[in-house]
């Protein structure tokens, strides 16, 4: 298994770098669905099917797979954003609402009067999958953030309902690797952000630590699909998940891409030995 991973990594890296360099939209070609190749148009449907299947047990599986670490990563992500009262957020691929709820809690704790007085809605949550949004909506009622959030179905590559220069912050957490064309997503982010606005991405990335890498590879390829089957009765969706992580560009490659889309002061921060990274860019 590990050997196959290494071979795939090598071919992936070569393939991916050439794709980034050429910057082509591969509409007539294929897209990566984990380690499998599917028709470009098919990827979205297939990803949708994955999330239809995982929606209900999504939060439970996140806790199980990351041993609760995903909570720390998301907390750190919000700290990095450092929101101020009145800042409007668009949380893309925001599904079950983890980032949104943390964002609103942070603002509320910062200054609860200003929070109550803020112009509504404060956050737009956008996701391609309706089931994930439903889970999020239910949670928002429990968390008492019903009024501050607008939930919309939408495609990160083409946010048709959003006007240019609208938002102060754009977040996409553990969502961008599921998109068919990453570059389009980043370009859309640039479009909908106000000048001075900030693009923030939290995503799985590449670890360089060789010891950690062996354990991480073993754990993610061998154990995660098994856990997915036991907890959520779904082996294939979690197999897709771990493969999609491997197919995502490295920290530097992704930073280059963000830069190429017009963002300035692009930087990244590694979490958990590089297993996860926070990328940031500003629109000036």
């Amino acid at each position: 298994m590990l050997k196959i991973c290494k071979i795939n990594l090598r071919t992936f890296t070569n393939r991916h770098i050439s794709r980034l360099i050429h910057n082509e939209t591969n509409k007539n070609q294929e897209a990566d669905f984990g380690f499998r190749k599917v028709k470009y148009e098919e990827k979205q449907t297939k990803v949708n099917e994955v999330f239809d299947s995982v929606a209900e047990k999504y939060d439970l599986m996140n806790d199980a797979m990351s041993f609760g670490l995903h909570r720390l990563w998301k907390n750190q992500f919000i700290q990095e954003i450092d929101p101020n009262p009145g800042m409007r957020l668009i949380d893309v691929a925001g599904g079950t609402g983890d980032i949104t709820f943390r964002y609103l809690s942070y603002l509320k704790n910062l200054d609860s009067t200003k929070f109550e007085e803020s112009q509504l809605p404060l956050v737009t949550v956008c996701d391609i999958n309706d089931n994930m949004l439903s889970v999020g909506k239910n949670r928002s009622v429990k968390m008492k953030f019903k009024e501050q959030i607008v939930w919309k179905v939408g495609n990160a590559e083409k946010l048709v309902e959003e006007n240019d220069n609208t938002y102060d912050v754009y977040t996409i957490a553990f969502g961008i690797r599921n998109c068919t064309n990453i570059e389009n997503v980043v370009k859309e982010a640039y479009r909908v952000l106000k000048p001075g606005g900030r693009f923030m991405c939290l995503e799985f990335s590449k670890t360089n630590n060789p010891v950690f890498k062996r354990i991480y590879d073993f754990y993610s390829f061998q154990m995660i699909p098994v856990m997915g089957y036991m907890i959520a009765n779904d082996w294939n969706s979690y197999q897709y998940l771990v493969e999609s992580i491997r197919m995502f560009p490295s920290q530097d490659e992704f930073a280059s891409l963000i830069s190429d889309c017009g963002f300035r002061l692009v930087s990244y921060k590694n979490l958990s030995n590089g297993a996860v990274a926070i990328h940031s860019g500003f629109k000036f």
């Binding site: 061998q222 098994v226 089957y229 009765n233």
Partner: protein, 239 residues
Amino acid sequence: MRILTALRKDTSSFIKTNLAQRTVLTVGSGLLSIFDPHRDDMISAFGELTSFGVLSDLQRKMLNDPEGALILKEKPVINSKVLDLNKLATFPEKTFGKEYVEFLRINNITPDTRKPVRFIEDEEQAYVMQRYREIHDFTHCILGLKTNMLGEVTVKIFEAIQLDLPMCWLAGIFGMLRLGPKHTQVYLDQNLPWIIQNAKHSKPLINVYFEKYFEKNIDELRAELNLTILSPKINEFKD
């Protein structure tokens, strides 16, 4: 000596696993089967993962019997698409086909509830496992046992003795512990001695091509298979 046949390809229901994965899955599915009995996918997984070694013995047993060998050759499947249940319902009373359809109706079950075999790599052994699952209802019917807890435990012990699958033993023994006091008494006094005799002396049901006997009178079939039934009372599936 292991009988080698084709390995299953990665089609939609088969999942290739290595030793580390199987270990974790065995423990996990075992625990989940006990704590969440509604997870029949976990029960199936546990059954498959604990069946190593036993399945090749079963395979050999089937090949050594002419009817069993025919089943392995033709690999019949049992589901509502293959079986014409409406036609069976028109058969005369006391035929196996009619009794079977009645059994399904009274217990409110269908032949479509069996999960596909996912973790067994050898194609023929995977079929043996599948066949064992699919004839479970026929076994109930021919033994005249209801699908309540008492009936299920009794059938499980029967299957355990005939097939020696670890899952059947576990289910039979632990199932017995979950019976209420009245049923436990009936089980120990009546069902257990009877089912042990039946299991030991009858033709192994895994070698019975049930689908060919639908028109036969059920009592004749029982006699041919060397099976007896209990007197109709707490066990008979017709009330």
